[in-house]
Symmetry: C2
Subunit: 237 residues, 2 copies
């Protein structure tokens, strides 16, 4: 667990405020860049559920504000300034999710949608107070790392359970959080962060995986599809 610097703040200028849509674009681009190297127009459009032409328009505005660089027909890359805004928004989102789950008893499949709106309305002051009340949490309810106040984040890459060698014991680290129904299903299977998992068998041709979930004695076996498997990140143990 080596937290590594991914963005620095160059000075103490009072960070300007951005609109909700702008924060969501930057957050999405940050995650796409991290996942696939560069963020393309279509990917961004798909994630935000808007038309590709709309993305082109917003990307031009964000480039004007030096929040990203746009290579037409190629993709976009966040600047340091853009990354800073993205990480601040990601911190808000994840601190809020954690607060809703731990303090207000929200089920883990309901926190994401609520946080998706609150992240744009909550002040840094509020988010910091929540973080303090939670004793400075480092991961959100789905296992995603929470960036620190000063914009550093644990950006360690984990393997997906889809790539885990047969028989290798591992801990579930993180699950993707955007589909409530999927999250409810995962909880039913005991697939929450920290759970012990082993892959028993993997069927060929994009077939299902047989997995054993849970600590010895209370383990249960399940079969999951390859798409679901790719959304589960694990750490061998």
């Amino acid at each position: 667990m080596t937290p590594s610097q991914t963005a620095v703040r160059p000075d103490d200028a009072p960070e300007p405020t951005y609109t909700g849509p702008v924060e969501d674009y930057l957050k999405t681009i940050y995650e796409l860049e991290r996942a696939t190297g560069t963020a393309t127009t279509t990917d961004i459009a798909h994630r935000l559920a808007i038309a590709p032409a709309s993305v082109t328009g917003m990307v031009r505005r964000l480039a004007d504000q030096r929040l990203l660089k746009h290579e037409p027909y190629r993709g976009v890359r966040l600047t340091q300034a853009g990354q800073r805004v993205a990480l601040r928004t990601l911190r808000r989102h994840r601190v809020i999710e954690t607060f809703l789950a731990r303090v207000l008893g929200y089920p883990w499949d309901a926190v994401h949608d609520e946080a998706e709106r609150l992240e744009h309305a909550a002040s840094d002051e509020l988010v910091d107070r929540m973080a303090t009340a939670l004793d400075e949490p480092t991961v959100d309810p789905h296992g995603a790392p929470i960036p620190s106040r000063d914009g550093t984040v644990n950006d360690r890459r984990y393997a997906s359970i889809a790539d885990l060698p047969l028989g290798q014991r591992a801990r579930l680290v993180c699950v993707s959080d955007d589909d409530p129904a999927r999250l409810r299903y995962l909880a039913e299977l005991g697939l929450t962060p920290g759970a012990l998992v082993v892959v028993l068998a993997r069927a060929p041709f994009e077939g299902p995986l047989s997995i054993r979930v849970g600590d010895p004695g209370r383990a249960a076996d399940h079969a999951i599809g390859p798409a679901l498997a790719r959304a589960l990140l694990v750490e061998p143990s």
Copy 2:
């Protein structure tokens, strides 16, 4: 303390969602109507810190949506539907203020600005969870009544300390919440909801009031201006 019906919900239709600006207009109009009978263009503009011409435009849109009736050059009145939205927003605002103060330790002069934004992003679900966690509070940190889930509110009128007879003992019920500096000053003077107050003297020609604040033994005397006095609501006791 007789809670009286100020709005009813006619059916169980899923209340549509409104934009932040719309909610703020309706909330402001509700309060102006309550305070002065009718809400005028200039009053609304002044409260929301926007140009009167902008208010005329928005009022037309709100009238189109049957949220209020507009008599040109005369003023506006909320419809039942408009009142319902106003009270729901007011409930959110006040529950959020109370939560910030009691659970997260916010000072009472900082909760209003934060709630002014969060009230538009928080779901009813979240607000109800906050209210439950607070054991269904009935007043916010400034003493204003919190509308219930079903849209009823204690709309009892209180006298201002400016109108209190000399020597009459009274309890401070509610202070206006929009000026942080004023709130900090009131706290310094011990003028928080529940405080015992007596008017000792009142200078003529809009002069200052001499008041005694606090329970016998720990009481202190202060002089306050008439404008400040009008912002302090009391209940004789």
